[in-house]
Amino acid sequence: MKKIETFAGVFKARGVERRDFLKFCSLISVSLGLAPALVPRIVHAMEHKPRIPVLWLHGLECTCCTESFIRSSHPIAADMILNMISLDYDDTLNAAAGHQFEEIRKQIMEEYKGKYILAVEGNAPLKDNGVYCMVGGQSFTSMLKETAENAMAVISWGSCASFGCVQNAKPNPTGAVPIHKIIKNKPIVNVPGCPPIAEVMTGVITHLLTFGKLPELDRLNRPKAFYGTRIHDKCYRRPFFDAGMFVENFDDEGTRKGWCLYKMGCKGPTTYNSCSTIMWNEGTSFPIKSGHPCIGCSEPGFWDNGPFYTRLAEVPFVASDSGADKVGMYAVGAAAAGMAVHAVGTAIKKAKNDSDSNPTQEG
């Protein structure tokens, strides 16, 4: 006899109480806009249905998210895709191609209405009817909308899906927009980073499987568990910052002593991510540890906050090479010059007034 592993079974095996499981089911019904009366049916479905199917779409992207995902060390990717979820549709790993591959997506959308997770890597170009990203003869944008229709929740992998990333940088030639600008009626979890840390990616999914609910999100819809605080606030080089001990160039004493990279343009103080705690590749290192300033890859619009090796970005709409200080100094200079000119004007006027009102005094 076939033993089908169900959602309920997976939850139970992971020690989730039935109470929490029921809560999870009602959460789903709320997210789908279903009447409360339908909750028991969802409970039934979840108890008898298998592992959560995941449809993983690829839009305008570079596949670094998938690559990062398979770098996960706990859980390892194989465990994830064989035992925890059912990764039914993923361009990078699926054996099937072409229409057989597309059939899987259609089948899951139909059979698991409201019970599958849509994971999106990359984003959608809106310009020119979406011709800049086409899958199976269809625009990626329409495919995304279609697949989101019956999804339980959407996970936006990486900075592309979460915030737009590189193709969305100025001047955004393809009109690429993040997923939440297209899908409005589903719970969306943003997992930014270029790419996100492997264990953060698997962590988001296992959080759902283990605790029976989506992780708590912050104001930008990022899981607080991984994007709660800035890299700077938990950086092991922070004492050097507080002390004012800075790397001045990549070949100096401070570099070899591991001082703070703030003056090399490190974006750690404005970047929310777990790099300085979880670190990368099973805790091997992270950019700051390898001596390179953080470029802020998990922040909205970070590509346009360049140049990366300066603290202050160019101020938009003013001129190139225009940090805030430069703009400020020019403004102060202009004010001073303006006042000086005005002073001269005042002096002339005063002299004129005086001579007008008292013409005889001079002579």
Binding site: G244, K263, E299, R311
Partner: protein, 227 residues
């Protein structure tokens, strides 16, 4: 030169206004300079020894943040005085730039005078309309932007904390933490621009009107003149 007579000294700037003014001037200077240093630290700590021996940036940060709280308190105090103080020269009173009428004759005359379009120098005991709009943009709006963005920045230390609840919404509003820093930094430059304009205008009025406007911010008295 026109003959003028000193008519009388008039008490214009009451003590709360003067106190606010000078505290504000000191705090803004501290905030601006520490803030600038913060964004691009000029000096490095002495080499050698452990990082925990030095606290240069931490101290600077402490000074900036505590000054910011004082600045905020001082600002609130001035707002109270402006709204409820009953001080003719310090309250918002007639300042209604959202009304078309406010931009009428007095403003135009003052503007014309500043632009040398007329030889007439309008006289005001308190703020003239052009000065009022300057204070509105640079001091009131500038301060409010700095306070809101400043608290939002400070709240980043403790996500989910009291300040984050109050001001955390600013980050999504401006797009990112980085943008928030940039706005705070850029807006800070309003103050030196204002400083120069303000000092110039005060000195100029002193010379042109001879209303002792400079010393009035210390003594509170302006002189009224009559031709």
């Amino acid at each position: 030169m026109a003959n003028v007579n000193l008519v009388k000294e008039r008490y214009i700037w009451r003590l709360p206004v003067r106190i606010y003014h000078w505290i504000n001037a000191i705090l803004v200077s501290i905030l601006f300079l520490t803030g600038l240093y913060f964004a691009s630290p000029l000096f490095s700590a002495p080499q050698g020894g452990e990082a925990t021996w030095y606290h240069g940036m931490a101290w600077l940060r402490y000074i900036h943040l505590s000054s910011a709280y004082l600045f905020f308190a001082n600002f609130i105090f001035r707002m109270y005085w402006a709204l409820f103080g009953g001080d003719k020269y310090a309250r918002f009173g007639g300042f209604k730039p959202w009304k078309f009428k406010w931009w009428g004759k007095p403003f135009k005359e003052q503007m014309a005078s500043y632009l040398f379009l007329t030889s007439k120098e309008p006289h005001y005991m308190g703020h003239n309309p052009v000065a009022a709009i300057m204070y509105f943009i640079f001091v009131l709006c500038g301060s409010i932007i700095m306070i809101i963005t400043g608290f939002a920045l400070y709240s980043e230390n403790n996500p989910g904390g009291f300040l984050a609840v109050l001001f955390g919404w600013v980050i999504p509003l401006v797009g990112s933490s980085y943008n928030l820093h940039s706005i705070h930094h850029l807006t800070a430059w309003l103050f030196p621009v204002f400083f120069i304009t303000h000092i110039y205008a005060v000195v100029r009025h002193d010379i042109v009107d001879r209303t002792s406007v400079t010393s009035s911010m210390i003594t509170g008295y302006k002189v009224e003149l009559e031709e």
